[in-house]
Amino acid sequence: MRKEPVAVVGVGQTKHVAARHDVSIAGLVREAAVRALEDAGLAWSDIDAVVIGKAPDFFEGVMMPELYLADALGAVGKPMLRVHTAGSVGGSTALVAANLVAARVHRTVLTLAFEKQSESNAMWGLSLPVPFQQPLLAGAGGFFAPHVRAYMRRSGAPDTVGSLVAYKDRRNALKNPYAHLHDHGITLEQVQSSPMLWDPVRYSETCPSSDGACAMVLTDRDGATRSPHPPAWVHGGAMRSEPTLFAGKDFVSPRAGRDCAADVYRQAGITDPRREIDAVEMYVPFSWYEPMWLENLGFADEGEGWKLTEAGVTELDGDLPVNPSGGVLSTNPIGASGMIRFAEAALQVRGRAGEHQVDGTARALGHAYGGGAQFFAMWLVGSQPPPG
């Protein structure tokens, strides 16, 4: 029996900001969920199950917050489950929800992800003082910066490429009312002269810390016919994982990422992602990860990703726009960041991305990763239903 086609008929986000002191966690997730239901033209009673994700419990110090959120998300009397895959969780949460529809377990599923970073301590949560271990000698950026240097060495990329990504994403964010950072006067010179935190990573090339939530309503073919707005159709979705550290791990282009992308393209019938995909929302927490992921995801040959960035191909008006929403570099409620990528890809193929819409997007890729390049989750969505 074939899988049930899965449609995204509702997308909702909060306005992402540094701190939402005015709402509880329940109030925060509720806002995104209500907006997704409104977009889908549905009520709480139309939802059959709820699938939620957030970063590890340590971040906010509440064990299993999903239990307390059941009332806010209309989940009482329905199945509710939580997905845990570190920074990629927003993506894998959406995929678990999509699989429930594809497998005809449920017809209409609400999926959402959140983080209230202002009330958490991610740095602390990630660096517990484990006895006998040598303490980590650098912050979060210090974990990633050596891999960026390795990429620069391997590819021969000029050291300005990272600043081009940050400048692009921050300008794209100005067109996205939900983005956290809205730096209206930003210039390339400002990015390039911002403090070097973890050389080669500058301050302006790092992601912010945000409070926010993102929600989607996924439904089957019948549900899609009742959608008041065009749906996005899931053409392929996959997850892959690998250990954080192992002998032979390629930190610059992890195999789990390559394999995950290949699986998604195979499902979607994509043979030339560079030509056949119109827009990409990828998880870029530090600017240099754009060229790195362009290679890992098959949009460029090894060592060539930076040339696409440098040539302007990934700009909003380029022929492969990357992160038209402004990306993680402009908005980072950690647990939600992956789902925002998936949701923004859906908005693009639905033609509902507003000012940051890439005209004529028929196929878009949403990408998430996390846990020290350990977990990968991706989906490819299209404006037309999958064939068959």
Binding site: D22, S24, L136, A138, G139, W198
Partner: protein, 315 residues
């Protein structure tokens, strides 16, 4: 396994919580000796109140004031109170349905012994002397002889002067951490300033520090292999911001170092060379200081740099 190490690991942090409108009113009310509940769509009065209706999922904002007296609906005796519990003498955990409420609130009942507690007994709030807007503003409940207050609970705006909008929720977890056989052996070797990894019997890769198993092949490792002491900087970054808990002057170099014979880089600080002269391929050796288990840092050996091709698989 007496050579396996073990030590306490305490995970502790004071988290903050924004309350939102309903919990803000509830906790501020306690500060003012007022217990608030919320009326749901079907007329049920929930105490403590919640923001969203458990049945209809609608937003709830219809606050009411209930009495500080109520009835025990069930209980459990706590003979030996632990740190941070409401009372430091034996007490009963009770569910109390306050007069006017439809649901029960969990709290402590101050009673001389379990024989003096029963379901259906009447109790009242004992207010804390100093109240801040927290559930602990109810110090506990105490026995009370009065009859149930009658009538419907009165509507309440939930508005108070100087409302509490957030709380601090200290969290603490106490673990006993043991690094296990393989890492204990690694740590023991470090005492002698030797670095000993383990080789996978299948792929022959040498893991430093060893984990006792190969993450790629999924088989146990046992063959010990001494590596280093010299190694090659495979990649690095220059840290320009001072980390809170580290007493290291910035800028400094944080590097991935592949010790000779190891198939995985470990992490360390590079010193003994100006930070801006560190490069990929730099040959380094550990510098030990007395009383510290791990190398303090690594310094250049003076050898020629390693050729990129010799370590590129380790980057």
């Amino acid at each position: 396994m007496s050579d396996v190490l073990s030590a306490p690991l305490v995970v502790e942090f004071p988290f903050t919580r924004s309350l939102g409108p309903v919990q803000s009113a509830f906790l501020t009310g306690l500060r003012e000796r007022t217990v608030l509940g919320v009326r749901t769509d079907d007329g049920t009065v929930l105490v403590p109140p919640v923001e969203y209706d458990p049945v209809t999922a609608n937003e709830l904002r219809d606050l009411v004031e209930v009495a500080p007296t109520g009835t025990v609906t069930t209980w459990a005796w706590n003979p030996s109170p632990r740190r941070d519990q409401p009372l430091d003498t034996p007490f009963a955990w009770v569910l109390v349905r306050l007069d006017g409420a439809s649901t029960a609130l969990l709290h402590a009942l101050d009673a001389p012994g379990p024989e003096s507690v029963r379901t259906g007994m009447r109790v009242r709030v004992r207010w804390a002397a100093a109240r801040t807007g927290a559930i602990t503003d109810i110090a506990c409940f105490e026995p009370y002889e009065g009859a149930a207050a009658g009538g419907e609970p009165a509507p309440h705006t939930g508005e108070f002067a100087d409302p509490v909008t957030g709380i601090v929720a200290p969290a603490r977890l106490d673990y006993t951490h043991t690094p296990g056989r393989a890492q204990s052996a690694y740590l023991a070797a470090l005492e002698g300033r030797r670095t000993v990894g383990e080789r996978c019997p299948a792929c022959r890769k040498v893991y430093v520090p060893p984990r006792g198993a190969c993450p790629t092949c999924g088989v146990a490792t046992a063959e010990q292999v001494e590596v280093g002491p010299r190694g090659t900087v495979t990649t690095f970054c220059i840290v320009n911001i001072k980390a809170k808990n580290l007493d290291i002057e910035v800028p400094y170099v944080y590097a991935h170092i592949a010790l000779d014979g190891a198939d995985l880089a470990l992490h360390g600080r590079i010193a003994g060379i100006p930070y801006d002269q560190v490069r990929m391929g730099l040959r380094v050796e550990p510098v030990w200081v007395d009383g510290v288990r791990h190398p303090d840092h690594y310094r250049p050996t003076g050898e020629p740099d390693a050729d990129y091709d010799t370590y590129k698989e380790l980057v």
